[in-house]
């Protein structure tokens, strides 16, 4: 398009008295008409009102406008509305520009109307020069595969799979072990309801007989490719390689308990883990009368700074079960801090104390010492050592990240935190999303979570995933990056800098290519490219320079 063809319309808004009460709006409209390529300009009391919008549409037709500028409030609130009007009138929405003369002008320069008007003139002039360089862009429509892949068949993965399966989506549930169930299989009873873990495991039968859920067990994931709407996971099952396609992926790979090997003389006989105790309780094999539990073994230390979240409650649960079975038993829990948040868990903890379970606080710098028939512990409260008779010691160790989480994270191109748990996009605002679109996380893969937390996160992840799966197609922003292949030297700087892994290398041409579906248009690559070979559409260097030059003028 040559510059003669460019016909810009400038619409200046009074916003009632919000703008008009400070700035000289009619003069701004008159001024706009003097600028290059401006075919038409006017002012209106409320540009966003029905009258204002109609005026824009009519003038686009009457004056054959092909660029529209509205000088009014903030594009953060009103750009979508005006863009839609442009589209209705047959103008590509990316040929629209907005000038912020309210939030960033009339409202902040209320006592300087003349200087404020001068600023508005500059801003309109900058926008007119940028508008002349705008290009029409297309929002790409991408088809969506309406099925999901859930990685991990523990309680979180199964809950997420069932949720999506019941909504009518096809779900592939992938588990590396031969059976579904995860850690729940090794538990006896679960807190705070004290029901049998096996009751919760009834979900396995529902899943395995579910029409919409395909279960793959004893599976190794070999590769993951694709992007939101179109992921492909290559798995290996019994030496057979299978490609599973899906629109979204939910990561529910859980965590594993740290082996207490090397802590407090762990021998699995007289000194056992909390998980060992679960199976003894299940089979009614506990013979001991004096039982001491030690919490925070191998965590909240230099090596693992985190709290494993579930150990306090599971120790309390097992202590109560022991008392129920043998009312004469003496149970002591040596703790650093008891975590019993919420009404249910606090009640549970109180009940344990009422049942006569002894809680003694120990200091990490003076840990308990296990002797032959007793445990020696220093109590800061009493300022003295206490001897507790024992014939069984139970150690609570934390849940730690799966060993293969690093490999999986690399394949998914999602981040891990310092302890190798999966890291969500935002701790408060996007707790089950990854920054990469179409991938979600739930359960202990993200952080040690109890069953209630795991299932609620699983349902949250499934519900987030379904927001994508229900769509007919995805519409992708037109303002993305594009590599000018002829300038690209294949240095890969952009590939490393892109926060979304949207850029890959075309092995044949040895140049970078941008996946427009994944690209979010942030522009980091363009501002960094050593060869200036990347165009950031809608914020091109030429467009930004036009604004700079226009304001600065000649020297």
């Amino acid at each position: 398009m040559t510059s003669e063809d460019i016909r810009i319309g400038v619409f200046v808004c009074h916003c009632g008295t919000n703008i008009g009460g400070v700035l000289d709006v009619p003069s701004l409209a008159n001024y706009a008409r003097t600028l290059p390529n401006v075919t038409y300009s006017t002012d209106n009391l409320y540009m966003c009102s029905e009258v204002g919008l109609t005026e824009i549409k009519e003038n686009i037709k009457e004056h054959k406008l092909n660029r529209v500028i509205v000088a009014s409030c903030s594009p953060r609130t009103h750009e979508p509305l005006f863009r839609a009007i442009c589209q209705e009138a047959g103008i590509n929405p990316y040929l629209f520009e907005m000038v912020n003369i309210r939030d960033q002008d009339s409202w902040v320069h209320m006592k300087e109307p003349e200087k404020g008007t001068e600023k508005a003139r500059d801003l309109i002039r900058m926008s007119v020069h940028k508008a002349a360089l705008l290009e029409p862009l297309e929002r790409v429509k991408v088809a969506i595969n309406h099925s999901a892949i859930v990685i991990g068949g523990g309680i979180a993965g199964m809950t997420a799979a069932l949720n999506l399966g019941n909504q009518g989506f096809i779900v592939s549930l992938i588990e590396k072990e031969p059976e579904l169930g995860g850690l729940l299989k090794s538990l006896n009873k679960v807190f705070p309801s004290n029901e049998d873990a096996s009751t919760l495991l009834e979900i396995i039968d529902i899943i395995e007989s579910h029409d919409n859920i395909h279960v793959y067990t004893s599976v190794i994931i070999e590769n993951i490719t694709g992007f939101i709407g179109n992921y492909k996971v290559t798995i290996k099952q019994n030496k057979e390689t299978i490609d599973v396609d899906a629109g979204v992926i939910i990561v529910a790979t859980g965590a594993i308990p740290l082996s207490p090997e090397g802590y407090f003389g762990y021998d699995q006989k007289k000194i056992i883990s909390q998980l060992d105790l679960e199976s003894l309780l299940k089979n009614d094999q506990v013979k001991a009368n004096n039982i001491t539990m030690i919490l925070c073994v191998g965590c909240r230390n230099e090596e693992r700074r985190y709290c494993s979240n579930i150990c306090c409650m599971s120790a309390i649960k097992n202590a109560m079960l022991l008392i129920e079975k043998n009312p004469n038993a003496h149970i002591t829990i040596l703790f650093r801090d008891i975590q019993s948040a919420g009404t249910e868990y606090e009640k549970y903890y109180r009940k344990a104390r009422e049942m006569g379970i002894l809680f003694i606080n120990y200091l990490p710098e003076k840990p308990p010492v296990i002797k032959k028939d007793f445990v020696d512990v220093y109590s800061a409260l009493l300022n003295q050592d206490i001897k507790i008779p024992q014939d069984l010691v139970v150690l609570s160790t934390p849940l730690i990240a799966n060993e293969d989480s690093e490999v999986l994270a690399k394949m998914l191109k999602v981040p891990l935190e310092e302890n190798n748990f999966f890291l969500e996009a935002h701790v408060k605002l996007r707790p089950v999303d990854f920054a990469t679109d179409g991938i979600y996380v739930c359960g202990s893969a993200h952080w040690p979570a109890d069953i209630a937390e795991s299932t609620s996160q699983a349902n949250a992840a499934a519900s987030r995933a379904s927001t994508i799966l229900w769509k007919d197609h995805l519409e992708v922003e037109g303002s993305t990056a594009e590599v000018k292949t002829e300038l690209c030297i294949g240095c890969e700087a952009c590939i490393r800098i892109c926060p979304y892994n949207a850029i890959t290398k075309d092995e044949e041409t040895d140049t970078a290519i941008v996946n427009k579906i994944v690209c979010k248009g942030c522009g980091l690559c363009g501002a960094s490219c050593p060869k200036n070979a990347i165009i950031i559409h809608h914020f091109t260097s030429d467009q930004i320079r036009a604004e700079i030059f226009t304001y600065g003028g000649a020297i």
Binding site: R102, Q104, A493, R496, C522, L524, K531, R545
Partner: protein, 251 residues
């Protein structure tokens, strides 16, 4: 002039409006999606067009809408600032962070910066006395920032100092700093030389005199520039060669 990221600072500026916090009218805002989008050459362009001060505002570190964008902005602006200090412009550029909830902070930064620039006075580029010299200097800075050598270093900075390379080595931050400073310093002089001999061929001693460095250094740079195909022998007068810039060469 202010470059504001869409998600935090621009929203912060809007909030200043909604809260009717008044600040000086001097600033003209250019919206970009991310502070990391601001190519350092944009800032030089602004100075070359007589703008007295440039603010680059992004989200607070760790809060970037694009995860790591503002870290990249910080890296870019830090190199830019080092180059600007060579031409005494670094005071006129400031990088800061404003969240979407900090309307007050935005207004405060603009007010303080405006006051600071007013105290500094108008850009020296507007004074006729040294105008050509300053334009040459800024042009040299701009071409350094356009050169693939420096852009390559800046683009890979975070990667190089935080991750291991293909040989399993990680470059310590201190070593990278030395490398970067060397590159900045040398490239600046080289591009200055290129600009000095853009139209007229000059001898090494003449160039050294004009730029104010030793002839030996100039000669070293000329050798590098010749190997890049940016400079060539112009003519030889009484056994003293003069050099001249040639078309854009291969770097």
């Amino acid at each position: 002039m202010g470059f504001l990221c869409n998600w935090c600072s621009y929203a912060g500026a809007d909030l200043a409006g909604v809260s009717r916090i008044q600040y000086p009218t001097n600033i003209r805002i250019i919206r970009v999606m991310c502070s990391g989008r601001v190519d350092p050459t944009f800032v030089i362009d602004a100075f070359l067009h007589g703008i007295d001060g440039v603010l680059v505002l992004g989200c607070h570190l760790g809060d970037c809408h694009y995860i790591t964008g503002n870290y990249e902005a910080e890296i870019k602006m830090s190199s830019l600032s080092r180059l600007l200090s060579l031409v005494k412009f670094s005071d006129r550029m400031r990088l800061d962070w404003v969240s979407a909830a900090e309307g007050n902070r935005f207004a405060q930064i603009v007010s303080e910066f405006t006051k600071y620039i007013q105290e500094l006075g108008p850009s020296p580029i507007k004074e006729s006395k040294n105008k050509t010299q300053i334009i040459d200097d800024l042009e040299a800075v701009k071409s350094v920032l356009e050169s693939s050598r420096l852009r390559g270093l800046i683009a890979r900075q975070r990667d190089l100092v935080t991750e291991k390379n293909v040989y399993g080595n990680q470059i310590p931050v201190e070593r990278f700093e030395i490398l970067l400073n060397d590159a900045i310093h040398n490239e600046f002089i080289r591009h200055k030389i290129v600009i000095k001999i853009k139209e007229i061929g000059k001898s090494v001693p003449d160039i050294a005199n004009e730029i104010g460095i030793k002839a030996k250094e100039v000669l070293d740079h000329i050798v590098v520039l010749r190997s890049r195909g940016l400079v060539d022998v112009h003519e030889i007068n009484e056994e003293i060669p003069t050099f001249i810039s040639i078309r854009e060469g291969q770097e």
